[in-house]
Amino acid sequence: MNRLILKYASPVTIVILAIFAWVIYSRVSGGGVDAIILLAVTAVAVWVVGTFVFIYFWPRITVGGFKRIFVKRGLGGGPIPVNTIYAVPESPSQSASAGSVIATGTDDVLYFGGWLDVKAGPRVLEVPEMEGR
């Protein structure tokens, strides 16, 4: 899905805009320009306010998306409970077709992921000895 949206962003956008144009056209042909005044005013107001809201909340929305993916779907081994770090046992490349969030196109690194919540106080992460691995 992720991949399809990335790949076909332009055609999808064009189809949506064409539908909008058709809506406007059918309204105008039915009742003249008066029939779209309220629509246009609403659209412009939502457009202006919405742009600021989207930009302001963009980091929060996308990080929230990562949280949802970690906690609900996981990174291949099922949902990852909060305050747990999951180490993906293999290169994420194999899951590229499945649209994994960490399909970063490299098999040179391993990925770890999890959602940490320190509301209740600090947490300690103990990292095993990794020298020579």
């Binding site: 659209a43 399909a103 196109g105 040179d108």
Partner: protein
């Protein structure tokens, strides 16, 4: 109440909200992409964003870089460069062969390792004829007589040393160079990745 709902439905307000939100989203994407582009420093066709994750970023830069490189490491931890075109400005394509020539001692300086990958134009790994789609600091690259290093980027195995070969996918592709714990020369911006040069046979 039902009269009001019918008026709302017929008035175009709902359609206006849908259109406004769509336009707002598209504007956001265009604005954030434009800001990310101004934050990208491109040298020899290799673009790098250095400011991701820095606390001083304003609202706009913060959002733009989160869009360009979601949950990325800070540059001092991991430096990334991407290239989609060769030194002549032509889009990289698996129909052509390319060479990346690192002058003596000019492989990326790191305290960990570096890695060069070829992916599809979105960034997904693609299958190649040798099953490996990267060349890295552990590849045992062979040096030329003058200590320089050539990495060959082409779909089929070259006549030269196979470890210096990065198999490229068919069609358009993208290169990504990662340097983990980049050295001072990278962090300071002195280091330059050499251009990708098309090899004409």
């Amino acid at each position: 109440m039902s009269g009001f709902l019918a008026w709302i439905a017929g008035s175009g307000v709902v359609q206006g909200v849908i259109m406004g939100l769509t336009f707002a989203y598209l504007t956001t994407v265009l604005v954030l992409n434009a800001v990310a582009k101004t934050e990208t420093r491109t040298v020899n066709g290799w673009g790098a964003i250095r400011k991701a994750g820095q606390p001083g970023n304003g609202l706009l830069v913060r959002a733009a870089l989160q869009k360009a490189l979601p949950v990325v490491n800070v540059f001092e931890e991991a430096a990334y460069w991407t290239a989609t075109s060769d030194d002549a400005g032509e889009r990289l394509n698996g129909d052509h062969a390319y060479r990346l020539h690192f002058a003596a001692g000019q492989l990326p300086p790191t305290d960990a390792f570096w890695s060069l990958t070829a992916t599809d134009t979105i960034g997904y790994k693609v299958s190649t004829s040798i099953g490996r789609s990267s060349v890295d600091s552990h590849s045992g690259l062979l040096k030329n007589a003058d200590e320089s290093v050539d990495i060959l980027l082409q779909p089929h195995q070259p006549s030269g040393p196979p470890q210096n070969w990065l198999a490229t996918p068919s069609g358009g592709f993208k290169l990504m160079l990662r340097a983990y714990l980049p050295g001072t020369a990278i962090v300071d911006g002195d280091y330059e990745v050499p251009p990708v040069i098309e090899v004409r046979s």
